[in-house]
Symmetry: C2
Subunit: 383 residues, 2 copies
């Protein structure tokens, strides 16, 4: 099977190298930006790939919704299998791509878009065929896990942890998608669609770690708690799907606390299988490329889809999910929360534990309180 | 796809129930012992299944090498896919079954034989197609993990931990295969064959937890160490394959310490993917049945093998693997070990730390020292 590659950045180079070494797979042309075609295997026009009858599959690792989506549709329409690591693309256009690929009888796979090297979506999709998936989620962003590990392990403050992550190549120059939880949110969107055939695009909530201070870390660690940024998806018995990302304080013995550095932990709970958790590197050239190659090898064995037939867009509803929250906020705003216990006071700010309250209510209140320039950090408390 | 089930014990009932509920799969006849065919779907003769042209696949969950092997070969020769949870069968006859199934063009899959609900062998086999697997292993026996968790968490002694495991149905009346490490050894044999195309049947070493005392637990826990029974497989650069099972003392922050109760943690390290660890229930009716069903669903998608074409039997060589060991033995035997430090003395016994020494040497010495009726416990120290 001959595979063309779209993009020749960090991941693209890894995919190309692995294709050259793999048995049963062959490296085809690589699409690069105009002016960058410095060797014979590089091309600058998508048509050179789409119109090439010797290309059986296209692996897209450029990132971004456009032009990736147009290229994907052109490849699928030309009867080529389509594999991608691009979570923004699949989160935005996954339903159309799934429909087009199924109509054309080609594969549409994207293991690398969620969990990096971890074969999560593949196994989740397969589990959904014969088991009932009750929930899914986990630590899906390696950049923020690295930063949390730094802040909690070495006492670094947020700015220093971010600098360290950037210096090591874990965080991009603009880290917004990572630190606000948007990146993890896109991944849980894909997992929901693989598990339940609904790709939620509305009602989603994401709180990141960009409000976390070194003082917060010191306080909750003194209480035996460790913070992880967790994505969560769940289908209630009435069919409603919740999907959100927020910091969670877990106990020191919980499995998530053993997930260090930039590692990810992706998990699903099946009615029959019970909890299946997978830990591995969530990003990086070769880990991500290895997931792209696994998908390509899967196509050769007949695998063709991660979203079920009839997968549709939908809305998440986070109003029925509830936990107690740990919240640091201005004293003047304390009465807006259902406080069960005041944990600490420091200057104008107070740290409280709330009564169990809905995820949607907590995220909404946080947004309102911050509107006036107030500083606030919150994290769910695991029951 | 219509699936016949061989065996109607703990797992067989789960497989049958899941087949009745699954879309795209249909429950066929179930083979039970003579005199046990109390309902219409049960049959007592394998021929009633093998000769039934409506049966597409056979799921064997009886256990034991015979008659399971004869039944498997008959099913394969009759052109039926063969799925099993039976690690003893695959460890003993996996090469013949792989060859016969490939010759006949049917599937031979056995996810449930290693890791229970964890989709380990499937992913390991797929990783081996496009990546180089460097090592594999982990916590592959839930019974002993439960016992270790009990001994380390509650201070129970070995006999009480075993009784508790038996009372909860985690250990069988004859727990030998579990507590000696033989069960975990069979699983790592399968993993080696999936990763490297060699099913080792000689040179294997297994040390279990049956020599572990409450005093040992108290001692190493006071040193901040936790014991897990780990299976290990590795292919050296010269192509030699090591495969063994032994207790390992890990640090309190290591990921294995978060694997509690009867859970398993199966892991492989790929050259490109890095470490991929998977945690889930290693046994039980529905977890194991869920793995059988995943395999059956995989067949419908074109998956057909976990061992590569040309997979052969071979020998393991554990002479080049080396660690320091923690050993409790009679004082009179201390000089037979390369002792680096005496940790404790108590009556006639002494607890020592060794210099790094080969796995084969440690296991051989332990066997020799025990021949005279001496009591000895050893565990590798993770570097």
């Amino acid at each position: 099977m001959k595979v063309a590659v779209l993009g020749y950045g960090t991941v693209g180079v890894g995919v190309y190298e692995m294709l050259c070494a793999a048995e049963g797979l062959e490296a085809g042309p690589v699409l690069v930006r105009p002016g960058k075609a410095d060797t014979a295997f590089k091309v600058t026009e998508i048509q050179a790939i789409v119109a090439d009858p010797t290309v059986d599959a296209v692996a897209e690792v450029m990132g971004g919704v456009e032009p990736a989506f147009s290229y994907a549709m052109a490849a699928i329409e030309a009867g080529k299998h389509f594999v991608t690591s691009n979570k923004a693309l699949v989160a935005a256009k996954g339903v159309e791509l799934n429909r087009a690929a199924r109509a054309k009888g080609v594969a549409f796979l994207f293991s690398a878009a969620c969990g990096g090297a971890i074969p999560f979506l593949h196994n989740l999709a397969r589990a959904a065929e014969t088991d009932t998936v009750l929930s899914c989620g986990g630590i899906l962003n390696g950049t923020t896990n690295f930063m949390l590990d730094q802040m909690q392990g070495t006492g670094k403050d947020y700015a220093d942890a971010l600098k360290e992550a950037q210096a090591l190549g874990y965080a991009e120059a603009d880290p917004t998608a990572d630190v606000t939880g948007l990146d993890a949110l896109r991944k849980i969107m894909l997992a929901c669609a693989a598990a339940w055939g609904v790709l939620p695009q509305e009602g989603l909530l994401n709180e990141g770690i960009d409000s976390l201070s070194a003082a917060d870390v010191k306080d909750f660690m003194s209480r035996g708690l460790v913070c992880r940024l967790l994505a969560s998806g769940r289908r209630a018995e009435d069919g409603r799907i919740s999907a959100y990302v927020e910091p969670v304080l877990v106990g020191a013995g919980d499995a998530e606390t053993a997930v260090l550095k930039n590692f990810n932990m992706a998990r699903y709970v099946g009615q029959n299988s019970g909890s299946i958790a997978m830990i591995g590197q969530g990003a990086g050239r070769y880990p991500t490329a290895s997931a792209v190659l696994r998908d390509l090898s899967g196509i050769a064995q007949g695998e063709s889809a991660m979203f079920p037939a009839g997968c549709t867009y939908g809305a998440a509803d986070n109003s029925a999910e509830s936990h107690a929250y740990y919240v640091r906020l201005p004293k003047s705003c304390e009465d807006r929360l259902p406080v069960s216990e005041v944990l600490a006071e420091c200057g104008d700010s107070v740290t409280v534990l709330t009564e169990p309250m809905s995820v949607s209510c907590m995220h909404t209140l946080a947004g309102e309180i911050r509107k006036n320039g107030n500083s606030l950090f919150f994290a769910a408390i695991r029951r």
